[in-house]
Symmetry: D2
Subunit: 259 residues, 4 copies
């Protein structure tokens, strides 16, 4: 376990709700509401160690996981959204070596997770029509070191997908039903389509389009996470929770033509 070096990313951990993803630069300080941390003090420490801020508060030096990068990349409260990303992985079977089409890119939170799992040999082709989002996405991917496994495409995926014979199509956009026929064209037989939508009407339209295009194993699920406060004699679920992020629609392509 070697020492922390300049340019390395560290996750400063104060508590479960307060963490900071910082790049270590010599002679700089990092300011928090619990005092500042001297980066020179961090250099040479090891991952897993703790240091104290100028006000004596202890921070742990953790190695950022891909979920930390995903969380910090997003403008939205993404903590719970990770639950959906996890299901997408298992529903689609995405793993090392897969070639995956994703749309829209957004801030690249999900792109990052997908890239992390298809590396080193696989690739994520991520579509978005918003040029400024693609710039943000590129920066976030670059910071997390996952850009080499991603190709960003400035294109409306509803107009067609450029890749062929892909292993999965993953959608998080407003009108997923417009992409179903293109997914049918480019997916390998038996491979998976997964779409995330906040509204139930989006789900109904997407399922109808999947049925029309002879997809099978069509499933709609909602994934709900309850967090617990665990403390002897005071154990209970958290009072406030995320009640909804969205629905997941998944399906597998068959070779049958549209009726």
């Amino acid at each position: 376990m070697s020492a922390i070096e300049e340019g390395q990313d560290v996750l400063l951990y104060l508590d479960s709700k307060r963490t900071y993803l910082v790049r270590i630069v010599r002679d700089k300080d990092f300011h928090t509401h619990k005092g500042f941390l001297s980066m020179n003090e961090i250099l040479g420490r090891k991952i897993g160690d703790s240091i104290k801020s100028s006000t004596g508060v202890r921070f742990f030096l953790l190695r950022p996981e891909v979920r930390d990068y995903a969380l910090k990349s997003s403008r939205r409260t993404q903590v719970m959204y990770q639950k959906d990303m996890a299901q997408i992985l298992l529903l689609s079977g995405i793993c090392s070596g897969y070639r995956v089409v994703e749309a829209g890119t957004g801030s690249a939170s999900l792109t990052m997770i997908l890239a992390y799992y298809v590396k080193p040999a696989g690739k994520v082709y991520s579509y978005d029509i918003r040029r400024e989002m693609l710039e943000t996405a590129r920066n976030n991917l670059s910071r997390s070191g996952l850009l080499p496994y991603v190709e960003l495409r400035e294109k409306d995926v509803a107009e067609g997908i450029d890749e062929e014979n892909v292993d999965a199509v993953i959608l998080d956009l407003a009108t997923p039903w417009l992409v179903v026929s293109h997914a049918k064209d480019v997916l390998k037989p038996s491979s998976s389509f997964v779409s995330f939508s906040p509204n139930i009407e989006q789900v109904v339209k997407t399922v109808e389009e999947l049925e029309k295009h002879q997809f099978v194993d069509i499933r709609t699920t909602e994934n709900i996470i309850r967090r617990y406060r665990v403390k002897r004699n005071m154990t209970r679920p958290e009072s406030l929770m995320i009640g909804h992020t969205g629905y997941l629609v998944s399906a597998r392509k068959t070779g049958e033509s549209t009726a």
Copy 2:
């Protein structure tokens, strides 16, 4: 897309609730309550095609995903349990190349998922004290083709872990709190411990032990899946659902010694 060959596994898909994982053998029939399927007819077809049973019912020929193998390996109703496996993946950051300790092996449902994600360079070290379970596990892993990425250990993990410097420790056993100190010994700094337990008292004991051993980012979550029936003008959650499988406790190791 080449033709289906002898010895290949195929997932026969009737509907979302009825699928059959079969190995294709020449001159054999596969019997279902919807008539039998001739394997000779399947040979030469392509994945994604459909064939009809002797009673005229259509079955699709799908490529089994790792989740299909996991589901079919278990004696328990594992359909919903996959939701927990997915969260374990993302909480622990397990990916291609990771070295993971798992206990207990059971029928190897989770082992399979872990192996699928650490392949090709990683390895899962899976502990169980029940010799007959390990035999079942070996068969299930062999069938799914994932055995090369797994080492099965007939040993009580509460007595110690043989590996060093591992990337994750994943537990699904009755007394996870007895394994916390061993996990602390063998985990890389900042790496993850995740434990699955059905009962809340197991959670309380495990969290207390993690706190005692200076783990941080300790989180207890419960993951609930709702399935929907989606049909225009008749859309609603399924009436019956899995209400509980278990709680997940996750944490990251720090370098701090036990107080």
Copy 3:
């Protein structure tokens, strides 16, 4: 506390999942899969006592509550449906003395609960177009002793409500949106409309109609009950649960005319 008499209803309690609602008749036996119970032995006992069946299994003699009558009246699994009835009560403020319109009557499970709470001075006007359901309802209400507080109406409530100046309109039927304008006509100002629907599309149509008719405080809720197995060191939610019964839409009438 006087003795149990002939003609009295008793709830025979074996365990939380097995109870029997029986009317005590001299010289009869009641047969269960745990042996039979002699009704002569029950006569003269007190509520709260227990007796043993012919095979030595203990049954408690409980006083049936209105929820027991409601549960036993229904052809459907109504155990969880009670959760919705409870919310309807509090949302509508239904209490002793209220005049309530209900449709459809069905087997009168909800009618019974409503009658129980409006008695002695109030009244439930319950509409159904199915004559045979009304007969079943009348029998169930009669058995529970609540028939005096109910008037059954064989009429399609979508064609109009006969009562005026009512305190609440409660609906459990396929097309609640067709009843909204009638509810507007007959409800006292500020009084409540509550509708129960299994499908989300029913909810959308009903809410739109309520908005059109200037109802306010329109709320859509879903009420989910988790049951727990409580036993030291083995405490957990039940594995199987009722995932969905239906949505509740509630609203209060204003005096404003339709735009």
Copy 4:
């Protein structure tokens, strides 16, 4: 429908999340962040009408329901807590004429609901050891007009219950298990005990004590409310929800003595 009079309570309704419970006093104004409302303008209007504030925003004049009084009486966010009150009603069968023991009184939110359902002939005996809470409770009950149906007792209910032969015992306090034996003493046979507790350890202790005292039909439930945003093509559960208020333990008394 007569006109609104001086001294009458009115619920000023702006939207589902913003309502104001005010007593109408001649020549006064009521100030909101949407401008002020002249009470003289309200006098003479009818319930269900709307008036405009000084800034032209429309408020509806509703009749306060008991749930509005309960909500406004509490210092806590009680909106979701009503779901638990509703279940307590149905679990206990509390209705017009019942004599109910409750502890602790707190700000009397639950007391109010209980009083509303036992009136006119029943009575709620409500215990609290905190004199200042009892003062608050008395004021809240008085405002809602329900004080005549309540007797407040400044006493620790764990030391004994003064009433006899009661129809229900309802608890919302830190140590409900200490009250079980007293509940056994004073409840009519077959009558209900219901306890609300936020923490699971409280539930375990209470259930054990109920079993020890031969209560039957012991049930532990948790009641979860999801609220929906309903709008065509944008229908979805609310993003933020109340994840937990507490568990309900209910049971019925038998005549059996403690083993």
